[in-house]
């Protein structure tokens, strides 16, 4: 029986979706604007006799996830930008050891301590392998509380399927706002995938030893491992692309925006329609892999693009890479925690179109 729709904060919906996906261990450290998520997990994980630890730092939290994930358990951590910076060491190790895990970034403005208001300034860090070494991991960006819950739930499956960390890149607005949400069904922990590579329970099968590690000091071997991982990345790039298109066929100008800024663009499009102007939205949901090919198709159809971001211009670089100079790509952004208004976004589109 499907759940009833209920009103929930984004942070809490993410927590509940994770629990329902079969998260057995959560490790976090307080930071605004994701504190409700950690508190939700404390209450509901402990009530279910699952593992919750308020770690001594984000560094410790991600390494606890590393240990739990190494045993094959579904596990997660959440934080906001400064804390995610601290987790990058652990994320690099997890990618090197091919460990599935879910990491939620309810992003805030930076650099440095910055502010606590919503931002999309962590796009580069999230999509380029924010730690050391050659790696990527899946990054999914929700635009609503419903989508935050759905993507978090799915993130656990994707992490297991591809043996890699999956990051949910939300922002302070998605985390803090309340919306109606229908939650996915609760997973039976016994139904979760078995992981033959994980540490522990050797006595059950008398299998050979399992070693979870990222070290290899033989250059040719490490190169081969990295190449194998990149072959997996190629598969992900063809099978896990997610994006949404609204009115792109008719549009004279297509916004490219994700998460909160995509919502702003949708509002601007409504206002444009009333003024007799056709604008479209291309909304990447998977930020890595980025839907380059579809943007290239739209560019070939003669579309022009306006990347709207809550940053000084990060995703716009992917848009430009995608269209390879075959279409005009402009950028409009606010930063420091300022959310652009529909009016200013519309004004920028009109200015570019000369209408």
């Amino acid at each position: 029986m499907p759940d009833d729709k209920r009103l929930m904060k984004g942070n809490e919906a993410i927590g509940e979706a994770a629990i329902r996906a079969g998260c057995r261990a959560y490790f976090g450290y307080p930071i605004t604007p994701q504190n409700e998520l950690t508190a939700y997990m404390a209450k509901h994980m402990l009530a279910r006799k699952r593992t919750f630890i308020q770690a001594e730092s984000e560094v410790s939290a991600i390494n606890m996830v590393y240990g739990a994930a190494a045993t094959g358990a579904r596990s997660m951590t959440s934080s906001s930008s400064p804390g995610i910076s601290l987790k990058q060491e652990g994320i690099s190790y997890a990618c090197g050891a091919d460990l599935p895990m879910v990491i939620v970034n309810v992003a805030r403005s930076g650099p440095g301590l910055g502010g606590i208001s919503p931002s999309q300034g962590d796009y580069f860090q999230s999509t380029r392998g924010g730690g050391h070494g050659d790696y990527y991991h899946l990054v999914l960006a929700p635009k609503s509380v419903q989508e935050a819950a759905d993507l978090t739930y799915e993130a656990f499956d994707l992490a297991d399927r591809w043996r890699m960390p999956v990051m949910i890149l939300a922002d302070g607005l998605i985390g803090q706002m309340m919306e109606g949400v229908v939650l996915p069904p609760e997973r039976d922990l016994a139904s979760l995938p078995r992981k033959g590579w994980a540490a522990g329970h050797q006595a059950d099968t008398h299998r050979p030893n399992n070693h979870v590690t990222s070290i290899n000091l033989v250059p040719a071997e490490l190169e081969a491992l990295n190449r194998k991982r990149f072959a997996r990345y190629d598969e992900i790039k063809s099978s896990e692309l997610r994006f949404e298109e609204v009115n792109v066929e008719k549009a004279d100008l297509v916004f490219v925006a994700y998460g909160t800024s995509a919502r702003v663009c949708l509002g601007a499009m409504e206002a444009a329609k009333r003024a007799g102007l056709e604008l479209g939205l291309f909304r990447p949901i998977s930020l890595w892999p980025f839907p380059h090919a579809r943007l290239a198709e739209l560019a070939a159809k003669g579309k022009r693009f306006l990347s709207v971001e809550m940053s000084m211009g990060q995703m716009v670089e992917d848009v430009r890479l995608a269209v390879e100079g075959k279409a005009p790509v402009d950028f409009y952004g606010r930063c420091g925690g300022v959310v652009p208004t529909e009016e200013e976004v519309l004004a920028e589109a009109r200015r570019l179109l000369g209408k």
Binding site: F27, G67, N210
Partner: protein
């Protein structure tokens, strides 16, 4: 006829990469012997740290998880919480535990995480070639303390007694310090390890055995000389014995042998 002494099953019969006179190999063997005695080979996981003992997973014949430098207790926390009926060994050097991973060890110990830390104190950074460690003795030379550790003028601080530091924390139940510089100390160290592992399997709380261990290569000594240096210099500063024993049952207190 019963085999009275042989190679432990939990240790692979391979040549190790450790230097001549290094203590890691002896400590590995003690761990393996105790695991065999407790019949835990297929229920053990070691988190092998960044440091010389990163190679531990080549030698122990059971599962392993290799975390980032110093994060070993955090990773062990994750492993043990998910595998509460397994023996989880958090193996750490003095750089890993007492420098970069100080926060991790203090908080894992304070939470009373139910794994056992084997803390190999060789008073130096081995893997990276002999830099000063938090446990380097005052006056002891290191590549980064060329005139010897100078706490005051050069501001190099003082050697940290980790057992004593952790003893103040409510979560710690068993903290012992052994050494592997002679047969008597090796035997005693094995008893400490066994007590700690048994306490872990009873779920008593945080247990740690610190082991004073020679590093002839980076101390720039012959192996025999290193054993003597350890006896004369390390043991007076780092007293051997059970520093804290709050294990259930009086019978677990140290037998005065």
């Amino acid at each position: 006829m019963e085999l009275a002494y042989g190679h432990p099953k939990s240790l692979k019969p391979v040549q190790s990469k450790y230097c001549p006179g290094c203590g890691h190999g002896v400590i590995h063997r003690l761990i393996a012997e105790v695991i065999d005695e407790l019949a835990l080979q297929e229920r053990s996981v070691i988190t092998n740290p960044v440091g010389c003992s990163i190679w531990a997973d080549l030698y122990f014949d059971f599962d392993s998880v290799q975390p980032a430098h110093g994060r070993t207790p955090a990773a062990s926390t994750g492993v043990k919480r998910m595998l509460p009926d397994h023996l989880v060994i958090c193996y750490q050097g003095d750089g890993d535990l007492a420098a970069i991973g100080t926060a991790e060890i203090i908080h894992a110990a304070n939470r009373g995480e139910k794994f056992t830390t084997i803390f190999v104190n060789n008073a130096i950074y081995g893997m990276t070639g002999g830099q000063m460690a938090p446990t380097t003795l005052v006056g002891q030379k290191a590549t980064t303390a060329p005139e010897g550790r100078d706490p005051a003028e050069a501001g190099m601080g003082y050697p940290i007694r980790v057992c004593e530091l952790l003893a103040t924390l409510g979560g710690t139940k068993y903290l012992a310090r052994g050494a592997v510089n002679n047969a008597a100390n090796v035997r005693k160290t094995k008893q400490y390890i066994k007590k700690a592992f048994e306490a872990q399997m009873r779920g008593e709380g945080f247990t740690m055995v610190e082991v004073l261990s020679p590093c002839p290569t980076n101390w720039q000594m012959q192996p025999v000389e290193a054993e003597e240096w350890l006896e004369k210099n390390m043991i007076p500063f780092y007293p051997l014995g059970e520093i804290k024993n709050e294990l259930g049952g009086a019978e677990t207190k140290e037998a005065a042998k």
